[in-house]
Amino acid sequence: MADIKPAEVSEILKQQLAGLKTVTELEEVGYVLQVGDGIARIYGLSNVQSNEMIEFSNGMKAIVLNLEEDNVGAVLLGPTDQIKEGDIVKRTKRIASIMVGEQLLGRVVNTLGDPIDGKGPLTGELFEMPLERKAPGVLFRQPVNEPLQTGVKAIDAMIPIGRGQRELIIGDRQTGKTAIAIDTIINQKEFYDKGETVYCVYVAIGQKGSTVANIAKTLEQYGAMAYTTIVCATASDPAALQFYAPFAGCAIGEYFRDTGRPALIVYDDLSKQAVSYREVSLLLKRPPGREAYPGDVFYLHSRLLERAAKVIKNDAVVQNMNDVPPSIKHKLKGGGSLTALPIIETKEGDVSAYIPTNVISITDGQIFLESSLFNAGIRPAINVGISVSRVGGNAQIKSMKKVAGTLKIDQAQFRELEAFSKFGSDLDAATMSVLNKGRRNVEILKQGQFSPVTVEDQVAVIYIGTKGLIQDVPVEKVKEFESEYLDYLKIKHKDVLTRLGKGELADDMTQILETVAKDLSSKYKK
């Protein structure tokens, strides 16, 4: 410190000031006619565009949503009480957008892309990505063919998700929707460590600040923040920030997608986003429709989810992709993907409400969580019967496909018979065997929170389950057996597990799995 001379400091300051250019340009302005409830009506701004960002004299931003004959309706991105009637508003001539870059990883930002985690401003190269952007056209896509491993046995085996897919997680409150999403993010650690990072974005919409802080802490704890960005619009933020948050998160995901990398985005949750969009729409006096949602609430979700895509691998084709922001034009690369996991909260399991039906029809399948299963101790509480994945099947690795092929049907049959068996009548041997196998499979599919399982382990466990190799193990001991079995395989037959992970399932491998299962299960025989 002693070396710094005041003269030098003033010299630097002088240089900086000399380099300053204050240009006075013709600006387009309007003034506030009316303001209230997060909405401002503005007179003037006759050339303003829809979705354009405008700026008030105190620096607050707003987004233009309504263009009317003699005024402009805009949603404020800050507290309403700081704007007064008669305030001057300037056009920025910029469509609402956020600055995205690699530095966003590990950070918590708000809808405008400003960090809110107290770790200082973003540094390094940033690229401007628009919030509203058209999804890639048909030419620039390719079918989903790579798996996105969630690390949840029930999902990876029966409702597989592929990279670029949109899989809805739906269920009542307290059924573990967020837990599945967080587990999926944590499971990507494996790929991060291998250097094949799946970049994750978690968008928290209308949640409590404390919940978001908890999630950030959990991700930090499991080393998942290194490849994750959290976009956060808490319940106390203005409605506009809440309904734009998924778009901001999507813009971040698109940055990774368009630069040829796989990304995963979780929207937690879209029902709250729809509610804040309804609030803004009603305040803007747009006509209400069913459940008082505006007519374009379907389009709100469909255009958001359509942006999840698997981009074609051909770099030459990708160069011509539609609606690419100029800032990342030079970085375009094919083969990237954006997988979306939207979350919808239902009331009393009612999936026929407006927003759930909309989002179910938009997505490529849904994971349905039920509170009755949750309370019965089946966690994750996935109702396998009505959960589907419409495209993920092609993305499963071969070994998993072979092993888990019959699992879903087996379990469906088991549930049907289980209902009958409750009458207590005598059951024949065949029925008993279906019931026994089913009960053990249910145990196998149970899994603790924050404990994702690798694919190879999943295949090994599900193999013995579907083959009925653990009939001798009592149901309550299945969990114990499972961990013992996996530990044994890890120590003695590491190569088999590695090969399973690569998708192989040869006879010599199944033989080893079968002998190990038989040897270990004999211990549990009464």
């Binding site: 300053l20 006075t24 013709l26 600006e27 387009e28 302005v29 701004l45 004959e69 003699d70 001057i88």
Partner: protein, 180 residues
């Protein structure tokens, strides 16, 4: 419902009616008065907007307030708006009418905001300059705002030229912060 259409339509109707009667200038003066009164006296709007006052009472109030100052066409216009229960749109319609008038007669509204009072010569010089560049008549309003510190802001319709010292300081602050 798109409410902005209401005020635009009433304003257009009044404007065309005034042209047909050849009383555009008088109507404009009347409407200017109505606009000024309704923006400066909030109590008037409160009374007109109140759902418990009767239409006849509202009409009577309009008669008492404006009767001796405005022509009978303007009064009839206000009466019609009250009768159609559109009293909330009187101010907006007046604004739109004035806009139509300016467009019709090629007048541009210009606002000049300075930090200090300016001399008459300076004012005429500015008017001449703006008139020459805009190629139209102008209607100048002047304001003094100490917070500008120096310089001026010139607003023509919804374009603004901000050459104030406070704006320059603001820009300077922004660019200095960006460099860090």
């Amino acid at each position: 419902m798109n409410e902005s259409k209401i005020s635009v339509r009433y304003a257009k109707a009044l404007f065309q009616h005034a042209i047909e009667l050849g009383k555009l200038e008088e109507t404009k003066k009347d409407i200017e008065l109505v606009f000024k009164t309704s923006t400066e006296v909030p109590a008037l709007n409160l009374y007109l907007l109140s759902p418990i006052t009767k239409v006849s009472e509202k009409k009577l109030l309009a008669q008492n307030v404006f009767g001796s100052f405005v022509g009978k066409e303007t009064l009839a216009f206000i009466d019609l708006m009250i009768k159609n229960r559109r009293e909330a749109y009187i101010t907006l319609s007046a604004r739109n009418f004035l806009q139509l008038y300016k467009k019709h007669s090629g007048i541009k509204s210009v606002e000049l905001i300075t930090a200090q009072a300016i001399t008459e010569e300076f004012k005429t010089a500015i008017i001449a300059k703006v008139q020459a560049s805009m190629n139209s008549k102008i209607d100048l309003t002047q304001k003094i705002d100490k917070s500008l510190l120096g310089g001026f802001i010139l607003r023509v319709e919804d374009q603004q030229y901000d050459a104030s010292v406070s704006n320059k300081l603001k820009q300077m602050k922004k660019s200095l912060l960006e460099k860090i």
